[in-house]
């Protein structure tokens, strides 16, 4: 499947769009900064000379406050969208998303536990305690799901999905229990779970860069295998893919990326489900195009949504709520429109 020049153009346009959006949104906020000043501030961080025309407080606002948040949104949006592509292909199910295997529930449980333990004074509130617990929770869930579906020996799609649902249900009960125990301080837990990019700083960005970017490349390299594996295990075995090994490798990679995203931003739904669908409608299902386009579109949408909550709304709405509120109805519309056209019977 050779990417046509038209598709390469689309990737370029999306990449350019993302870049422009990043510069543009960096200027928006309580302190408005001109795009030209932003560009000179960004270049100044390379050669260390801020032009005299720029307000001396602006470089700090851009580099230390807005840029990390923007980059975090971009990486989380892209990471979740790419993970969505992988889960949909591997689980042979267009309704799968990065949270299908319960990684989100595991991360939420880990974060809730961390919050609760600091509330009752067992743990001291250190800066990266919550992301750490969330990350461990996400990975532990993946391990549990693998262990639960292992007797079927091949990690078949259905047993993975079912295991994910079971583990999620147990963890959800656990989260409810922690919320109940937290009593009046339950707000912190609820707020974390709803997802947000408030106060994201450079260490968050480094963590995401470390997890999301290599994962995305690894996944892109396996684009052909992902295409073939949507046809089922017998087909991919017959075509010369070591299906079980490749499936496990890709599930672990995309789960690492997902766990990283969730532990930084909380649970932001719909991006991982909707973006691959939107992109498939434009470029078709071939993963070699689907993956890069999904990354870029996921980034653009997430940054857009985060900017709306940060700048436009009078009070910061949790971004998870916003993406679900906008994404849900949009998805319904697309689904209804394409449903009759796509299936003959």
């Amino acid at each position: 499947m050779k990417p046509s020049s038209r598709s390469l153009c689309l990737i370029l346009v999306l990449a350019l769009g993302l870049l422009v959006l990043m510069v543009f949104t960096a200027g928006l906020g309580y302190i408005a900064i001109k795009p030209s000043d932003i560009v000179s501030i960004l270049f100044s961080s390379i050669n260390d000379t801020v032009p005299a025309s720029v307000d001396p407080s602006h470089p700090f606002v851009i580099v230390e406050v807005r840029l990390p948040r923007i980059l975090a949104a971009v990486l989380v949006g892209g990471g979740l969208a790419v993970a969505g592509c992988v889960f949909q292909s591997l689980l042979q199910n267009p309704l799968a998303d990065p949270y299908t295997l319960g990684i989100s529930s595991g991360a939420a449980f880990g974060a809730s536990l961390a919050l609760f333990l600091t509330m009752i004074g067992i743990l001291l509130p250190t800066p990266y305690l919550i992301p750490l617990f969330a990350f461990i929770g996400g990975l532990a869930t993946l391990y549990a799901v693998f262990a639960l579906s292992a007797p079927s020996s091949s990690l078949s799609a259905n047993s993975l999905i079912l295991s994910g649902i079971i583990i999620s249900a147990i963890l959800s009960a656990g989260i409810s229990f922690i919320k109940f125990m937290a009593d009046e301080q339950v707000n912190a837990i609820i707020f974390w779970i709803m997802g947000s990019f408030i106060g994201k700083s450079w260490p968050d960005v480094w963590l995401l860069l470390l997890l999301v970017v290599p994962s995305a490349f690894f996944i892109l390299v396996h684009a052909r295998e992902l295409d073939i594996m949507t046809f089922g295990e017998r087909a991919s075995d017959s075509l010369g893919i070591d299906t079980r090994a490749v499936r496990k490798r890709l599930l672990v990679t995309s789960s690492l990326a997902t766990a990283g995203c969730v532990s930084v931003s909380g649970i932001i739904g719909f991006v991982g489900l909707i973006v691959p669908h939107l992109v498939r409608m434009i470029v078709g299902p071939a993963n070699i195009l689907l993956i890069p386009c999904s990354f870029l579109l996921g980034s653009i949408l997430m940054l857009g949504a985060d900017t709306v909550t940060r700048v436009l709304l009078p009070k910061e709405l949790p971004i998870g709520v916003l993406t679900a509120l906008i994404g849900g109805p949009v998805f319904c519309y697309i689904f209804m429109k394409t449903q009759q056209a796509r299936y003959r019977v």
């Binding site: 042979q92 046809f231 017998r234 075509l239 299902p285």
Partner: protein
């Protein structure tokens, strides 16, 4: 490949799904360049044998040799160049175009980070032509009828250009016209390109018309194997399916024809 190297040598093969024994002590030699029909009642182990021959499953006991080497000694990619299998059912959830699906058959030949070469494009064209689906090439597989989907899957296997083709009841869900046209393509593969075809079949008249040899399974055991005209008998059919039949021989083709006594 000459006719003297067997395509497969199967020795004392056994396989169980957990506690359930599916195949017991199968020993058989499968010659190159012949059309084999794998017959037997539902649950007799046909699909399991196909799965084992295609290395989708591996045996508990016994060995399978492909050519002169154990099936386990091949890498997946090497094996995909030697043999291909078309499953009975497959999932189609995404709108891949027909020609892209057939091009997936070239996966074992195209290195990572590389694009299809002239030989790959030719193989895809030949496969599309053989199954008469050239006109569908830009259609989406999800929008095709059952017969068309099955032909796309077979075209993908042909694009693999392997010497051995395994078919697991691929014609079961098709009408007689589509079933026969697929079998004709397979016959051509055997006769013109000297390929080995092993097809699990339910329709004994199709088996009798197209297959050189039959392999008969019942309850996981090998009942009989050999030339179609010798193996197929009224006695065997009653033994396997508990149905009486009369077998006549078509004088022009010398193929056997089975008439079942259904009532």
């Amino acid at each position: 490949m000459n006719n003297f190297t067997p395509a497969y040598s199967v020795e004392q093969l056994s396989f169980s799904y957990g506690p359930i024994r599916c195949l017991s002590d199968i020993t058989i030699e499968i010659g190159s360049g012949r059309f084999y029909g794998l017959i037997g009642p539902n649950g007799s182990g046909k699909s399991t044998l196909i799965d084992l021959l295609s290395a989708h499953l591996f045996a508990d006991e016994g060995t399978i040799q492909v050519g002169n080497e154990n099936i386990r000694s091949y890498s997946r990619r090497q094996l995909a160049r030697r043999l291909t299998s078309v499953p009975q059912s497959f999932t189609l959830n995404f709108d891949y175009r027909v020609e892209d699906v057939v091009m997936m058959g070239r996966y074992p030949y195209i290195p990572r980070f590389s694009t299809p070469q002239k030989s790959d494009i030719e193989a895809v064209e030949n496969a599309l032509q053989s199954l008469d689906i050239e006109h569908l090439r830009t259609r989406k597989v999800t929008q095709l009828s059952g017969g068309e989907k099955q032909r796309v899957m077979i075209a993908r296997s042909l694009a693999q250009e392997s010497d051995i083709i395994l078919l697991d009841e691929v014609t079961s869900n098709l009408d007689i016209n589509h079933a026969v046209s697929i079998m004709k393509v397979m016959l051509q593969m055997v006769e013109t390109y000297n390929k080995t075809v092993i097809a699990a079949l339910h329709d004994l008249n199709i088996a009798s018309t197209f297959c050189d040899e039959l392999i008969v399974l019942r309850d996981g055991y090998l009942v009989e194997s050999g030339e179609t005209s010798k193996v197929l008998s009224e006695h065997l059919i009653e033994d396997l399916y508990h149905i009486k039949s009369t077998i006549s021989t078509d004088l022009s083709t010398s193929r056997k024809h089975i008439k079942y006594q259904l009532l």
